[in-house]
Amino acid sequence: MQDIVFRSEVDGNDYQRAGEASRHTKSALKRLGLPPEIIRRVGVCMYEGEINMVIHADGGTATLTVGIDKIVIELKDHGPGIPDIDLAMQEGWSTANTEAQTLGFGAGMGLPNMKRSSDEFKIDTVVGEGTTVTMTIYIK
């Protein structure tokens, strides 16, 4: 089977519509007949990533590649980058603004949730240039 690739642009200015890409991806994965728990994990990873891109990076690109035994999610932005990854990975640490917090975001759980929901998790970040988060979920 050839890999199936879904690519979505994430609008960086719209908190209210954040999650569009995740929802479309989730519907597509359901149509492919993947197990519900796998789809759920992909959904959490993508949605958290999307929210992060809206809050911190003025949007970005989400690419999801479905292979025969794994799903790879790549979230790429051209935001400010993460100066201290260890700190950013701590549950409860957040630099989200008040607008995000009013909507229920900014709990400092985004990156930890993404790590917990994926089998492999990698952050490449350069301050001033952007961040790419790559997550792999194996289809068992």
């Binding site: 999650g19 989730k26 909507l103 229920g104 709990a107 949730n113």
Partner: protein, 112 residues
């Protein structure tokens, strides 16, 4: 227990019942969306006071059985619209989150 049974037993206000026969497995209480995403489990009832449309997105991504807005909170227009579009179960109660969860726990423990 299904969502429609829960609605009836707890006398919940129905805003949208897109999947009334959805089965329920336990519950989660929380208002910080990422916290809920990380901790709630599939088919949970979600008790919350948050009423914006991102609530619908979290419910969809986490495969929750239903959202119950507590403290008499009403869904904003976008949340209601999104819940209808996504076929979600969106309910409400005047009880506090604590009281609603306690009532649910009692139902969970009672024999069918």
């Amino acid at each position: 227990m299904t969502v429609s049974e829960l609605a009836e037993k707890m006398e919940l206000e129905v805003f949208c019942l897109g999947d009334p026969e959805h089965g329920i497995d336990s519950a989660y209480c929380g208002d910080l969306l990422s916290w809920v995403m990380g901790r709630a489990e599939m088919d949970n009832v979600w008790f919350t006071i948050m009423s914006n449309q991102n609530v619908a997105a979290v419910a969809v991504m986490t495969d929750l059985s239903c959202i119950v807005l507590t403290e008499g909170v009403k869904p904003d227009e976008q949340l209601l619209e999104r819940a209808k579009t996504e076929g979600l179960n969106l309910l409400g109660t005047s009880l506090s989150t604590y009281r609603a969860a306690a009532a649910f726990a009692k139902l969970e423990d009672s024999p069918e």
